[in-house]
Amino acid sequence: MQVFSVPKSIKQNSNFTFCSGCDHGVAIKLVAQTIDELNLQDETIAIASSGCSVLLYDFLDVDCLEAPHGRACAVATGVKRAHKAMGNNKFVFTYQGDGDFASIGLAESMHSALRGENITAICINNTNYGMTGGQLGPTTALGQITTTSPKGRNIEYHGFPIKTAEQIALCDGVSYSARVALYDIKNIINAKNSIKKAFEYQKKGLGFSFVEILSSCPTNWKLSPKKSHEKIKNELTNIYPLGVFKDINND
C-alpha cells in the first residue's frame, strides 16, 4: 500500500528553490497535504508574499496572487471580501515570513486579525531576513548574531523581538493562533494538525486563524540542517514556546 505520495496540490515537476535543509519545503508540503485532505484545491486562492516565501505559486497548484511586501493579509482581505460580495465562499490563505507578517506588514496582519477576517495566515518564523542574507528581523532572538547585528541582538540597540502567535491570540477576531515547529516527526505531525485546524476554522467561518511555524534557516544560521533543528529544539522553543495560544472552540 502506498503510504506517501507527492501531494496533488504540488505542481508536477516543480522544484523547491530553497536552500538545502530549509524548513520552508516541509511547511509547503504540509500546506499542500492539508489542501488535498480538505479538498480545497479548486476553491483556494493563495497569497504569496515577499522573501523566501515569494515563489509559492511555482510550487502550489492552486490559484495564487502575489502581495507586495507585508501586505498579504490586506490582499487576502480583498480577495475574500470580493468573492463574498459576488456570492462565492473561497478559501484564502497567506504564506508569509516573519519579516513580512510581523515587521513590515504588522499593521495589515494585526488589523486583519482584529477585524476577524475569515482568512488563514501561515507565518514562517526563521528569526531573520533569509532571502537577503540573514539580517536582523522582528523575531531575531536576543543575543542572536545576524549580518546587521554582528555582536548579537542587544536591547539597547535593537530592542526586543516579537512573540507573534501570542500577540495575534490577543486579537478578538482570532479563532485560532498557534506556534508549531518542524524539527522532528512528532512536531511535523503536530504542525500539520494545527494547519488543518486553522484551515477548518476558516471553512467554518470562525474568523482569522493563524499558525506561526518555527523554521530552520541553515544557510544564514551557518549550521547544518540537523544542527539547525537542534537549535530550534534546544534554544528557540525556550524563547518562542510551542503551543496553542487561542482556540475559539476551547475558550
Binding site: V3, S5, F16, F18, S20, I185, I188
Partner: protein, 71 residues
C-alpha cells in the same frame, strides 16, 4: 516488501532522511547532486524498510516521492 522512491534530481543532500531512518538504509551515494554534495540513495539489501514514511515526512524537497508499505 516496503520501499521508497527517491527523485535524484530533487535531493539537495541535507541528509535529514538518513538521520531519521530507523533502519539506516538511506545512505550517501557516490553521485553528486545539484548542491555539489553526494545525494542519498535507498539501499535495502536485507528488506528492512518498515514503510514508516518518516523520511518522506522530513524531506524538505519532497524528493522522496513514494513510500510503499508492505501489509
Amino acid at each position: 516488501m516496503s520501499y521508497i522512491k527517491i527523485d535524484k534530481n530533487k535531493c539537495k543532500s541535507c541528509y535529514l532522511c538518513m538521520d531519521v531512518c530507523p533502519k539506516k538504509i538511506i545512505q550517501k551515494s557516490n553521485e553528486l547532486g545539484k548542491t555539489g554534495e553526494y545525494i542519498v540513495e535507498f539501499k535495502d539489501e536485507k528488506n528492512e524498510c518498515l514503510g514508516c514514511a518518516q523520511c518522506a515526512i522530513v524531506c524538505p524537497e519532497i524528493a522522496i516521492t513514494e513510500v510503499h508499505k508492505n501489509e
